[in-house]
């Protein structure tokens, strides 16, 4: 990978992460490592039924057992537990059902909490759970979205199984499809996924009688604080939320969970610290799931491959309740199906459906991978229909680099990009023509191992989000971010960020930005985050927003500090502020040798012996940043797979990704994000699926059943970048957290299907397991024989 870096600047340097020495040597502080004097442990009893009326809960058997301090049922919380929030009512017709943190009268998915035990240790709590009696009156499970929408379906909630429906139109869709020489009509299934962050969730709640502190493995300490106040009625100023080290989230910790609310309530009831930490199996059941859509997509094109119109109709599985942004997830894809392509008309429809399963919500990419998958699959189908190279059909439709800024059919304005450059680079690195030749050869020879080549381009709306646009989308909050910077007396710098890292490396990247902005050494910067008492304002981390919004807020705060320093320097150096130039961390009087470094000025501000009028004794400042527009990373991913047609096994042979994430602050971190993202996208393409049985039991409760790829299952990735700076922020950055996940899934599935096209196969449902591939091949071969 080529690394561009301006001399003497930190931004652009492949700095090793400041965080890692501590994390790698086990000196991290996960929530589950924390201990408080007198701390109690809670374990939850969870529903074994997908849908049932609770007719009796008797916790008395647990109460007398050794070490047990308390046992509660939903009834015990009924008066105070409120309803878990949904912050995104996406439509007028939306139904937001009551969502009690602990079920009181009805359970609607396997794993929903129905009772709990608080004990002096976890073992005693787990033992005592077995002494709780619950009687259920079974109700029919609702598992299939299409059936759920039929008139005679059993209901998940009294109001019915439809959560909402949305329709969006742009251009004359009828005209686009009328007389279109080519119409591609496909249905794809986005299987349900389990986020599987490395660190399972954990919560610790404590109180001193007046105020409450909640430590949680969360991505969103600030949002959580507000929501805990809203849900429980505890005044916001009496709640402090701390996200200590958090080991991954991928959206799964962008949530206000039942366990967070209940631990807080138990700390209040008992006046003691209460901790809960989930097991992996408990997490598989009860961490919100991702994806789960049925996508009906229709594309009308001219005979030369030009797209006329696109029609998308989604069924999106909400699960049993609407959680923090559950209904918003498919809507984040609404403007993305048209992707990087130009077209005359676009229609998007989505129906949210309740089922008796764990609710879905944000999972890496959130709505955008789903959209990208469908359009990129269909572009390959269009190419196949036209006997055209899949890259060529994309070239004929994409927005050309000279056309930016470009307002798309779905109404977004893409500020910058160069799809030609990224694609050219990727095809060269991949050895596209050579692989096509090998593919032809294998086809000719009838080799049992066929080669498939998969293409995916993508763009994504990142940097969530302009507050104004969130308001238009009816989201309950804004999308700004806050940053603060203070020079300490000795000239070191403390930065506070409202974003809440959980593995991304903010401390390192923010240090680089600050080092450049203030001219201080990288090593002299520290970054504080994740504690509402320290970082008092913030919107947290998700949607590839941290750098694009939060990093810019920090930069703006630095600029304000520099302005203050300039005034102070002018006073000390006895010149006009305009005579000063800022260079390498010092203000110099133009044309002279006299100067003051930032460190000297920090000391001067601290001693305050000689401050000019109107200048306070502090060299610090803060800022919020609210972007005018989203940012739009893009890229081209190419994947070659070998498909063993005898066993159905798919092996990835090579993978090339050329991403354009705008300006890069730290290429190492960018590369790490892309690697992880591609791995997760490949996980969806080939390995992962949350499976429920016909009664609504989750079958994939362990990692032996829910297969995650590890390094041993993945090829080396060849990565490179192009750089089209974003115009919506001063650093020109676009965000990289989700890119890999978005592009890789369709690239891999397109490759699998490409390998099998000679068999007459034009789709394999995800994940493309060996068994699915083998069945498709066998059926195709039988069809030929018949």
């Amino acid at each position: 990978m080529t690394i561009q870096q301006e001399a003497g600047r930190e931004v652009g340097r492949p700095r090793k992460r400041k965080e890692d020495a501590r994390l790698l040597t086990g000196r991290s502080r996960w929530t589950d490592n924390l201990s408080r004097p007198g701390m109690l442990h809670v374990m939850f009893l969870r529903s074994p039924m997908a849908h049932a009326r609770i007719t009796r809960v008797d916790v008395s058997g647990a109460r007398g057992l050794p070490g047990v301090v308390a046992a509660f049922s939903g009834q015990d919380f009924a008066a105070e537990q409120g309803s878990l929030p949904c912050a995104w009512p996406v439509s007028e017709d939306i139904v937001i059902p009551d969502h009690p943190p602990m079920a009181v009268s009805e359970v609607r998915y396997v794993g929903e909490a129905v009772a709990c035990v608080v004990a002096t240790d976890r073992y005693r709590a787990a033992d005592a759970l077995e002494a709780i009696e619950v009687d259920y009156e079974p109700l029919p499970a609702v598992l299939d979205m299409k059936q759920a929408l039929t008139a005679d379906s059993p209901k998940v909630h009294e109001a019915g199984n439809k959560a909402f429906s949305v329709k969006i139109n742009s251009g004359d869709i009828e005209a686009a499809f009328r007389d279109a020489p080519i119409i591609i009509d496909r249905t794809y299934r986005q299987q349900r996924l389990i986020p599987c962050a490395m660190e399972p969730r954990a919560v610790l709640a404590d109180t001193d009688g007046d105020t409450f502190t909640v430590w949680s493995a969360t991505q969103i300490p600030h949002i959580l604080r507000v929501m805990l106040a809203v849900v429980t009625g505890i005044p916001e100023h009496q709640i402090r939320v701390i996200a200590p080290d958090v080991g991954g989230g991928f959206g799964s910790k962008l949530q206000v969970t039942a366990e967070e609310v209940l631990c807080l309530l138990m700390a209040r009831k008992l006046g003691k610290p209460v901790k809960w930490a989930e097991s992996r199996s408990e997490g598989n059941l009860t961490v919100h799931h991702g994806r789960d859509q049925i996508q009906h997509i229709r594309l009308a094109a001219d005979a030369d491959g030009r797209i006329r119109g696109l029609q998308v109709d989604l069924l999106a599985d909400m699960g049993a309740y609407l959680m923090l942004v559950t209904p918003g997830i498919p809507m984040l894809g609404a403007s993305m199906f048209n992707a990087i392509y130009k077209m005359d008309a676009y229609e998007f429809g989505c129906t949210g459906v309740f089922t008796t399963k764990m609710p879905t919500d944000a999972y890496r990419g959130a709505g955008r991978p789903e959209a990208t998958f469908a359009i990129e699959r269909v572009m390959d189908e269009l190419a196949a229909e036209l006997h055209m190279d899949p890259l060529e059909v994309r070239r004929r439709n994409w927005i050309k680099h000279e056309e930016f800024p470009y307002t798309t059919i779905s109404g977004l304005t893409y500020d910058s990009g160069n799809y030609e450059a990224a694609t050219d680079k990727a095809t060269a690195m991949f050895g596209y023509d050579k692989l096509r030749a090998e593919q032809a050869d294998r086809r000719d020879r009838g080799d049992p191992v066929q080669l498939g080549i998969g293409v995916s381009t993508y763009t994504e709306m990142c940097g969530l989000a302009p507050s104004r646009m969130l308001g238009e989308a009816n989201y309950a909050a804004g999308g700004w971010e806050h940053g603060a910077v203070r020079m300490l007396p000795s000239g070191k710098v403390e930065v506070i960020t409202g974003t809440s890292p959980h593995g991304q490396g903010h401390v390192t990247a923010w240090s680089q930005i600050v080092a450049d902005a203030l001219g201080v050494p990288f090593e002299d910067v520290t970054v504080l985050h994740g504690d509402t008492a320290i970082a008092h304002k913030g919107m947290d981390t998700y949607g590839s927003r941290s750098l694009v919004i939060g990093g810019i807020a920090v930069l703006k705060a630095c600029e304000k500090v520099r302005d203050k320093a300039r005034k102070l320097a002018a006073h000390v150096l006895e010149c006009s502020p305009d005579d000063l130039e800022f260079e390498a961390g010092a203000f110099k009087v133009r044309g002279t040798e006299s100067q003051k470094t930032m460190q000297e000025l920090a000391w001067a501000a601290f001693t305050a012996h000689d401050l000019p009028d109107g200048v306070e004794a502090r060299l610090d400042s803060d800022a919020t940043f609210d972007p005018e527009n989203y940012s739009f990373p893009h890229g081209t991913h190419l994947c070659a797979v070998e498909v063993d047609t005898e066993t159905g096994m798919v092996k990835i042979r090579s993978y090339v990704a050329v991403d354009d994430v705008g300006k890069v602050v730290n290429p190492l971190i960018v590369e790490g994000q892309v690697h992880g993202g591609i791995a997760q996208g490949i996980g969806q393409a080939l390995f992962e699926e949350a499976v429920y049985d016909a009664e609504g039991n989750l079958l994939t409760t362990t990692l032996a059943d829910y297969l995650l790829p590890s390094a041993a299952d993945l090829p080396p990735f060849s990565l490179d970048r192009t750089e089209s700076p974003a115009t919506s922020n001063p650093l020109g950055v676009k965000g990289v957290g989700e890119a890999g996940t978005i592009a890789s899934t369709p690239a891999v599935v397109n490759a699998v299907v490409d390998a099998l096209r000679p068999f007459g196969i034009h789709d394999i449902e995800m994940p493309c397991t060996p068994e699915r591939v083998w069945r498709a091949v066998s059926e195709a071969q039988e069809g030929v024989r018949r």
Binding site: M43, R122, Y123, A126, D127, S279, S281, E646, T647, M649, F687, V691, L699, T700, T702, A704, D705, L707, L708, P709, S710, A712, D713, T769, P770, E771, W774, R775
Partner: protein, 284 residues
């Protein structure tokens, strides 16, 4: 891990260990813990006492005993796959051990534990069955030898009696002319076999004179593909091998689970047997 309460003992002698086991039918042997601890964690097992056999000298090491290799029950997978004695005397065992799970698990999990656990999805049972290993069980009553064909009874059930501890397994050395291959079909590197095939093939003057084929995860116990073994006798390498391997799934009753339905497992058994036999027979 939050298991139910249990006691723990670590006897210094085999007789002491077998006494504890004989006196308490809810006591269980603890070897590497790689199968037992997950069961405890999920509260699928509630043993009263775990009898840690890690200190018993009789269970340790790998020994060359002339006509056979004795692999102690407490030899770890990692020890087995790296042992020169195993690689020389029964290379198929080393090959299969290298396929078990991942390095962390191979450093804890034991050869004996894998076999005593009698999971038909485990890689080693089919191998020991194909090689006609002899199980050596010890109890207060003394020592008992159990042929591999009688050791595996059902899913997770062996013929070890109450109070019996597996001391190790004798693997006969096969001598000249044999080739070996273990084909494991799984979706991720550390996953269990969907199907596995262990093949030992002897050739002389170009033709196969004897073949032994063990099947992993094709029924409640590991199985031998007897029909294919017979059909292969006297065969030269070539297209007819595939024909013989079409019988590989005969008399099997493979399970249905998230990773494969029975018909797919049968198909895999045929394809993998063909591949394993070809490789073991030295086909190019």
């Amino acid at each position: 891990m939050i298991p139910a309460q249990f006691d723990y003992v670590r006897p210094e002698s085999l007789s002491e260990a077998s006494q504890v086991l004989a006196s308490d039918e809810d006591a269980k042997v603890l070897a590497g813990g790689q199968s037992l601890l997950p069961l405890l964690r999920l509260r699928l097992a509630y043993p009263s006492t775990l009898v840690d056999v890690g200190r018993l000298p009789e269970l340790k090491g790998v020994h060359d005993r002339g006509d056979h290799v004795f692999i102690g029950a407490m030899a770890t997978h990692d020890e087995v796959m790296r042992s020169d004695v195993v690689r020389a005397g029964c290379p198929l065992v080393a090959m299969a051990a290298a396929h078990v799970a991942d390095p962390a698990i191979r450093h804890r999990g034991t050869f004996g534990g894998s076999l005593a656990h009698a999971d038909p999805a485990g890689d080693l049972p089919a191998v020991v069955l194909a090689l006609d290993g002899v199980f050596v069980a010890r109890s207060a009553q003394g020592e008992r030898e159990i042929p591999a064909a009688e050791f595996f009874v059902d899913y997770w059930e062996s013929s070890l009696g109450p109070g019996e501890i597996l001391a190790g397994v004798k693997i006969p050395k096969l001598g000249e002319g044999w080739g070996f291959q273990y084909e494991k079909f799984h979706r991720t590197a550390q996953a269990w076999a969907i199907v596995g095939v262990a093949a030992a093939v002897k050739r002389s003057n170009g033709a196969i004179t004897e073949a032994r084929i063990g099947l992993t995860n094709m029924g409640p116990t590991p199985l031998r593909a007897r029909a294919t073994e017979t059909a292969l006798q006297g065969m030269e390498l070539g297209d007819q091998l595939r024909q013989a391997c079409e019988e590989a799934a005969a008399d099997t009753s493979p399970p249905a689970d998230l990773h494969a339905q029975p018909d797919y497992r049968r198909h895999l058994a045929r394809v993998l047997t063909h591949r394993a036999v070809r490789t073991a027979a030295g086909a190019p």
